[in-house]
């Protein structure tokens, strides 16, 4: 046992509580954090993969769409160029007719058609602009398309000062090569890319090899930035790639890029990561909120639980301490008993010898020669006194021995009145010095009770000693009574009553508490009554106290006994 008294608030228990809180928190948080983190990480990877796959597919589809669109238009133009002769196509009326039929078939995708000879002169034109006889000899697209079978240009402003691009197909007749040129409506083409919108920030645009926009991006991207993308993506081995990089604003941005139109153009899709992973971020936020709330709950629980546990431990410690003290007290009593037995036995023999010697002198005095002695009467008186005192010694030693015999806690049938008589015999001497009288009032024929005599002895001695202590200066009377209890069925009640100073009302509720004492330091342990309480509880009985200041204190002890019929035989045989 530690030396100092450890109340629940002491540093020992506070550090115990801290340790418990720490252990609970660590043990609960570690798996929670690991699981949360693990799940979020896995989820993030999966979700990223899913989003990437989705975006990639989206981009791929659009890329294919655009390629198909271009091929279709090319096929349309090719069809016109191969199936109709130069002469037919040179006829503007015919050309207009064809343009109208194409419009009907595919919508207003092809803005105009034109026939250009090998010198770059537009021979015939059908469309909304006045471009008849325009000379394209210097135009970049013309020089390229006259050399190849067909050509799809980048977007440029051209003569009309309006962004567009051209599909040109070369054909030859006997005299010369000529080109059928179709202008693709920029709006129609743009809408193909513009339709690629995901979330709130996802959009796509197309760059050519020079880094010029082929479509109108929906937010402002400078040409230099665009060129930066271009450099990166033109070196792609694969046709497609996904990267995530930090933008200037610090916001990560996802780029998906794909080459199209025979790797001449680059379609770039970009979206803010926060937008693309919006659902994931939302889920993550929920998880974090749940974790946070759970964490708070764990911490609160850890504190509450630890506090309760520590309280229980403190209480147990206190009880344990008391138990230990009780064991020590009982042990002390037992060893005192043994000592008393030894002393009693050792004293008994010399006393016996003294009494015998006195008897011998008495015998000798009977002889005639002493009969006339002057002091005969005195001799006789002295011898009688020796005899009387010897008998008194005998009485004391016998009481001590019988006390010692009962310092074990084995349970047997006890006759309460006899037990009390014995204890009163032991205490009477001490009481007499304080001018205290002990009176007993027994109800005869009480049933036997099954208890440990030494423990009962301890209880009664405690009560009597307390009463003696209380009345040490004033003197008084201690009344000890026994009777069948009227209140409790099958109980004997033992009443120990004194007419001493009484116990103040404020102390009454605490007198059975361990370590509560009103005696000066070093005089009492404050355990007496709490031990009594414990013993009586163990016997299945109960103890209570009534006290009034200046009129006295009364303790009542109820002890259960076995039913009358069960012990009537015992009773008779022992009586």
């Amino acid at each position: 046992m530690e030396e100092n008294n450890q109340k629940p608030r002491s540093p020992y228990y506070r550090s115990l509580m801290r340790r418990m809180v720490a252990v609970v928190i660590v043990v609960s948080f570690t798996p929670m954090i690991l699981i949360t983190w693990g799940f979020l990480y896995q989820f993030k990877i999966l979700y990223h993969e899913k989003v990437y796959a989705h975006l990639e597919e989206l981009v791929q589809k659009h890329q294919q769409n655009i390629d198909v669109f271009l091929k279709e238009k090319l096929a349309d133009v090719k069809f016109l160029a191969t199936n109709f002769s130069f002469d037919q196509l040179s006829n503007e009326q015919f050309l207009k007719q064809k343009l109208i039929s194409l419009d009907k078939e595919h919508g207003p995708v092809i803005t105009d058609l034109g026939i250009i000879d090998e010198k770059g002169i537009q021979l015939a034109y059908a469309g909304p602009f006045k471009l008849e006889k325009a000379n394209y000899e210097a135009a970049d697209w013309f020089r390229k398309s006259i050399l190849s079978e067909y050509y799809i240009s980048d977007v440029f402003l051209g003569l009309r000062g309006h962004p567009h691009f051209i599909i040109a197909v070369r054909n030859e007749n006997e005299e010369q090569s000529w080109l059928l040129r179709a202008t693709i409506n920029f709006e129609a083409f743009n809408s193909l890319v513009e339709n690629l919108r995901v979330g709130t920030t996802g959009f796509a645009f197309i760059l050519n090899r020079e880094g010029k926009f082929q479509t109108k991006p929906s937010i402002n991207i400078t040409e230099t930035q665009a060129k930066g993308y271009l450099k990166e993506y033109m070196q792609l081995k694969d046709n497609r790639s996904i990267t995530e990089e930090s933008h200037l604003n610090g916001q990560p941005i996802i780029h998906v890029s794909s080459l199209l139109k025979n790797e001449e153009w680059l379609m770039i899709f970009q979206q803010n990561a926060s937008d693309a992973f919006r659902d994931f971020i939302h889920a993550r936020r929920i998880a974090l909120v749940i974790s946070f709330v759970g964490g708070c709950a764990i911490i609160t629980m850890a504190f509450l639980m630890s506090r309760r546990m520590v309280k229980i431990i403190a209480k147990r410690d206190e009880e344990n301490k008391m138990m230990n003290q009780q064991v020590i007290e009982t042990g002390k009593l037992a060893s005192i008993g043994e000592l008393a037995a030894g002393i009693a036995h050792e004293i008994n023999n010399p006393v016996a010898i003294m009494v015998e010697e006195a008897g011998w002198i008495e015998d000798l005095l009977e002889e005639e020669e002493f009969q006339n002695s002057k002091n005969m009467e005195e001799f006789r008186r002295a011898l009688t006194q020796i005899n009387t005192q010897g008998k008194r010694c005998k009485g004391i030693t016998h009481k001590l021995l019988s006390f010692a015999r009962k310092t074990d806690s084995r349970v047997h049938d006890v006759e309460v009145n006899a037990l009390i008589t014995e204890i009163v015999g032991i205490s009477a001497q001490m009481a007499k010095y304080s001018n205290i009288n002990i009176e007993t009032e027994f109800e005869e024929g009480l049933p036997y009770i099954e208890i440990s005599p030494s423990e009962m002895q301890q209880v009664l001695l405690n009560l009597i000693n307390n009463a003696i202590y209380a009345m040490e200066k004033t003197g008084g009377t201690i009344k000890i009574g026994t009777k069948l209890s009227q209140l409790e069925k099958d109980h004997i009640v033992i009443i120990v009553e004194d007419n001493g100073p009484g116990i103040p009302e404020s102390n009454l509720p605490r007198i059975f508490d361990p370590f509560f004492t009103t005696k000066p330091v070093g005089k009492g342990t404050g355990l007496g009554l709490s031990i009594c309480y414990g013993i009586i509880q163990k016997m299945g009985g109960k103890i209570d106290v009534h006290s009034a200041v200046d009129s006295g204190t009364r303790f009542r002890i109820w002890i259960p006994f076995q039913k009358e019929d069960q012990q009537s035989t015992k009773h008779e045989s022992n009586a």
Partner: protein, 143 residues
Amino acid sequence: MSDANILLVDDEQPFVETMTKRLEKRNYKVNAAFSGYDAIKILEKESQVEVVILDVKMPGKDGIGVLQEIKQKYPLIEVIMLTGHATVESAIQGMKLGAYDYLMKPCDMNELVAKVDEATGKKRAHEEKIVEARMKRITGTRI
């Protein structure tokens, strides 16, 4: 009735000596022994002993052991136990083993004398009965 022949056994020598003197003064014939072994030896020599006053608690062979031996070898001899402490158990044990009675030390002389006389009377009555029985047998067989 002539006075009894007593054997007094106790390890406390002064007690035995004084008690011997007091009993002799009352015309008893007293043999003293200071231990259980002594007591057995004396009994072997002295066939006249009628009553043994025996202390229960002695070093070496204690009162109960001596009592058992006496009752085994000399069943007619009566034994009065002296106990230092009033253990009912040892008294009951002694009575069961055939002791005549027990007294607590220090004991009253008159009480002791009375018990000794009673025991002697009982012993002699037993002996008389045995003699009578033998006589009857002897005469019976003759007739």
